[in-house]
Symmetry: none
Subunit: 212 residues, 4 copies
């Protein structure tokens, strides 16, 4: 085993002398009393789209699930080890969160891989292919639409994917019932990694800039 | 659909006027040229253990997978939709990252659920139970070990779990071969959410404070 | 003939006591010396998308062609009375303008009519149908894409249409030759009638927010 | 493609901080509920004769068609792509406007080109020539009338042209029938780009100053 990456050790030293030093009381309280986040963010692994950065969130605020392309599978209680479903279940049953945000982002590598059947940077039979197959044949349909630019197809697919994940979220019986009872709200968001803008999903499924 | 959580909109406005305003050039460059993180962090969803906070990391630095209890499953190319495996594959094959850090943390709710068969805040047949079953019967054995305190059993299990994930990581053929070739390094880390300390895994699998 | 609309007479009285009174010298000079605008804007008739409002432009600044959905036809010197082509010719040969901007906008009624073959608020054999047929069968293709919302299809079509008009512009021999000589630049823009935002077309044909 | 004209970006920034900031609510409402202008203005592309300036009109007030010399062709349902006719049809059938104003203006370049067979700044076989040929041989007759000054011939032709367009408008069957039913009114106007005065057409076809 190689030595621990120095940039991480340096970063941690910054954390200790910076945020930790400033917020020590609050951080220790959070450890003692337990986390009580009200929001689950389902986000992508992308290094440019950390929810804590985007929402300027401190310790204790966001319960964050991150997978490739922020996908949510259908509710499938088949005895398999479903990591995403486990996190959703934990957030709702263990933490009683009241908001779920599925947050996609621009220039998503997972979506890009799904849209480009020709480049195939990843082996077809492998995990990425299977994971992105959760979107059905939508990528293929959009990928052949040559009247939209490559970037437009990508953005369209990123947003279609968020709506798809939200539909899948609602196949979890407790999501649906809590939402019907007004105890849980499900939201969509899309982050522009270049301009920093946040777009939120309205009741039609369209993504709009929030009115501040 | 309820209105988007105000605390997130406020946080995003802070981001725009703060970090985004200060680092606009770098953030836009990252969007244009693509992410090139060198490190994959496999972390927990816990709201108190965001890798970007712990390592004081900015946009573009860390590719971050977060699931409940930062688990890695065995390599199972069975055609299932394995989100964690897809993220690992993407980080290695798509981004050619050179370091993987499996980072656990103190007072982990997933580990706590696994260790406490009596409280069962979560239904046994559900996703959390199945997800944590990746640890085999270790939680049961430790849970009945009454000579260790509850907190000691919890910390022990958090660290056992990290070593377990690292063993599973090495069942991915490309992880093993790249590690053997010296092109990839696999690390363990454990974060104390109360003291802020980072503990790193040494060659024996023990967790120690890094020597600065 | 009914009496002239009072709201127009009132508006003109405002103009006389306001802008005209303030800018009398400049307006009279412009009348004497002739207009020398450097920019042709090809825009839509929509009452919410006046170029002079959007670009805060005063008298003499913009030469403005407005038709339904800001379309440009192919270069067709067939002896017909082509109003749009005549305006383009006049701007280039008569005024030597150096920039042409094709500006579309959100929620365009012409594009909406083209995308919705079922509602047919306009008779199929009439002028609107023929005019919008300049887009070929693109509206039909996009209109059947149910994975995008209605609003997303509309925005996509508005932008496809701008690119189409720019392609058609370049079939005018003098547009092409002047552009090649660096004496004329052709631009695309899309105006959001709700947020007021202006999106400009980049070299890939994508619409982006200008970096101020 | 060259960069977007800076004067337009600057103008748009003025719009955002000025009118948009002041009228945000109204502008957003207009986007949501759709435009409901009551007036179609058929005007010239001239940079000195923007209808919104002349009538001090805000967003949503005027549906504006602009072509060279504000001409209206005869009703010709021949399957051709008639942009001016499409805009008229859209205004009447799609928006149910109740007033149409054909507005000419002084020192009109299109009229000037039509009146001056010697200067021929524009190739005779081209689009401008064909477009202005809608006026029949009137320009030639007036151009040779040496007892009127050049400026008098120009103004006379501008007004003859407005009457001609109004006659052509009435060849559209729905214009004629709606006008007969009292649901649509057709008006003529002429704008003096130097003095700012508006002249309106009376029942004899004469242009007079409105009595305020």
């Amino acid at each position: 085993m190689h030595s621990f990456p120095q940039h991480l050790l340096d970063g941690h030293a910054n954390f200790m002398s910076g945020r930790y030093a400033r917020e020590k009381e609050r951080i220790r309280d959070l450890a003692e009393t337990g986390q009580k986040p009200t929001t689950l963010i389902i986000a992508c692994c992308d290094s440019r789209a950390a929810p804590e950065m985007i929402f300027d969130a401190g310790p204790g605020e966001l319960f964050v699930l991150r997978n490739v392309a922020n996908l949510v599978p259908l509710y499938q209680p088949d005895g398999g080890q479903h990591g995403t479903s486990a996190a959703i279940e934990f957030a709702i049953k263990g933490l009683s969160i009241s908001n779920i945000v599925v947050m996609g982002h621009g220039r998503c590598g997972g979506i890009k891989a799904a849209l480009d059947p020709h480049m195939k940077p990843l082996d077809s039979g492998d995990f990425i292919g299977k994971w992105m197959s959760m979107l059905g044949d939508l990528p293929g349909q959009l990928g052949q639409n040559t009247s939209m630019t490559e970037a437009e197809r990508q953005t369209a697919m990123e947003r279609i994917s968020i709506r798809n994940s939200i539909r899948n979220l609602r196949t979890f019986p407790y999501v649906k019932s809590l939402e019907n009872d007004g105890q849980l709200a499900v939201h969509g968001a899309w982050f522009d990694i270049s301009t920093g803008e946040l777009w939120i999903m309205d009741n039609n499924g369209d993504f709009i800039r929030p009115q501040l």
